[in-house]
């Protein structure tokens, strides 16, 4: 892509702290539109923190961070409704049914009923499961529900934290094709994962997060 197009994510020497611990210690990363970037790296390296920072949840302590053209240092909130984050936790209401949850999260971004049902079907949450309380679901079914909510959001930047964890074979394939489809319509994806083979195959680029910094990996 030609340089005039500004990058979707541009981090320069970013420092971010959890409590008093610098989870990110001078991380620099640039992601262009349409990329699928795999963040790999040891446990505790800072992948989750990096994604949360890009979603505007984690404040920037030092350095510069621009996401989708919004300066996170100046205002973390501006970027929010344009990104979609799937963290380690699913962000679901355990007492509500699957349908309740997907409808609610869909509605927050004004998704239509069709879109909502479509994304539920897509994640195989039709008929029986729709009216089961999320708290009673199996781990993978819960993950599927979270993904359905995410899909309904049509975000410009997808931030996924180990999205495959808990999904069965079918679900994984479904997820991959979903991501490809999203990128095809102009979205950008960052995936933190330890399943290097699978996500590696999917990704257009792989970077390594170590000790709160980002290293590019050439394969």
């Amino acid at each position: 892509m030609e340089p005039v197009v500004e990058p979707v994510v541009a981090l320069v020497d970013v420092v971010a702290v959890l409590g008093s611990f610098p989870a990110l210690a001078g991380a620099s990363l640039t992601v262009e539109r349409g990329e699928i970037v795999l963040l790999r790296g040891p446990n505790g390296a800072g992948k989750t923190s990096l994604l949360r920072l890009c979603a505007g949840l984690l404040p920037v302590e030092r350095g510069e961070a621009t996401v989708l053209g919004c300066d996170l240092v100046a205002d973390r909130t501006a970027v929010r409704n344009r990104v979609g984050l799937l963290g380690h936790s699913n962000g679901l209401y355990a007492d509500m049914t699957v349908a309740d949850n997907v409808r609610f999260w869909g509605a927050t971004v004004g998704a239509t009923v069709e879109e909502i049902n479509a994304s539920m079907q897509r994640m195989g949450l039709g008929d029986r499961l729709a009216d089961v309380q999320v708290g009673r679901l199996s781990a993978g079914q819960r993950r599927r529900t979270a993904l359905a909510c995410l899909v309904a959001r049509r975000a410009e930047l997808w931030l996924l934290d180990e999205p495959h964890a808990g999904l069965d074979a079918a679900g994984r394939d479904e997820l991959d094709s979903t991501l490809r489809a999203a990128v095809a319509v102009g979205a950008t994806v960052m995936v933190a994962s330890h399943e290097l083979e699978r996500v590696g195959a999917l990704a257009t680029r792989v970077v390594e997060v170590v000790g709160g910094q980002v290293r590019s990996v050439n394969r």
Binding site: T77, M96, T108
Partner: protein, 227 residues
């Protein structure tokens, strides 16, 4: 999306959670009722009881408020939903008002039950003249409590360990409401020869309180909830 749609959305969501889990109905209501019974028994002395009934009703309301608020934000924190709400770009003001409305609704039901309990247990008579005042008291006080509860609930929901602060922060602030509502209710019920006219000034205080915290919360909620 318009703030009002969000408010409705969030309020509806909270009420649906309650509808599916029935926690307030099954847990908080019996709790509040038992509080009243235990008060009555601890004090067991009818004269004292009728005299302090209004105070006790509001005291019980406040304990219940604490439980409901904790529950209301535990639901958000449990699986990272509060983060998700923020990432979804739901305006904090909308979250605040939505949750406050749902909270007020639940609180209102609870207060009716408590008032009923007071009538039965403490032989509180409701005099016709005081009804208007009584309703006014309940409306203003409930709104105020709902706002305060949501405000501090949000403040303490965020990072772990914070929720430990809730009672500490909330009770001193709601104390004025407790006093105001109690006096107003006493006036409405004519406890100790108080007359309705004594009550209205307190309504003013309660209304002011509600307005202040409502405005404050709507504006400041954003900076409170994101740690």
């Amino acid at each position: 999306m318009s703030t009002w749609r969000i408010v409705r959305l969030v309020a509806a969501k909270d009420l649906r959670v309650e509808w599916r889990s029935r926690v307030v109905v099954n847990q908080v209501l019996p709790f509040a009722a038992l509080v009243m019974v235990l008060f009555a028994f601890a004090l067991d002395n009818d004269k004292v009881l009728t005299r302090v009934a209004p105070g006790l009703v509001w005291l019980a309301t406040m304990f219940s408020l604490l439980l409901i608020v904790q529950r209301s934000f535990a639901v958000e924190a449990a699986d990272g939903a509060l983060d998700a709400l923020q990432v979804a770009g739901v305006r904090p003001g909308g979250i605040f008002l939505g949750k406050a409305i749902a909270l007020a609704a639940q609180l209102a039901v609870l207060e009716l039950v408590l008032l009923g309990a007071a009538v039965v247990l403490y032989k509180t008579e409701i005099v016709a003249g005081g009804v208007v005042l009584l309703v006014a008291t309940y409306l203003t006080a409930t709104t105020g409590l709902a706002f305060v509860g949501t405000l501090y609930g949000g403040l303490t929901a965020g990072a772990k360990g914070r929720e430990t602060l809730l009672p500490l922060l909330m009770f001193p602030v709601v104390a004025p409401v407790l006093i105001g509502a109690t006096r107003a209710t006493e006036a409405a019920l004519g406890t100790e020869q108080a007359t309705p006219s004594d009550g209205w000034p307190w309504i003013g205080l309660l209304a002011l309180f509600a307005v202040v915290f409502g405005a404050g919360g709507t504006l400041a909620f954003g900076s409170l909830i994101d740690e």
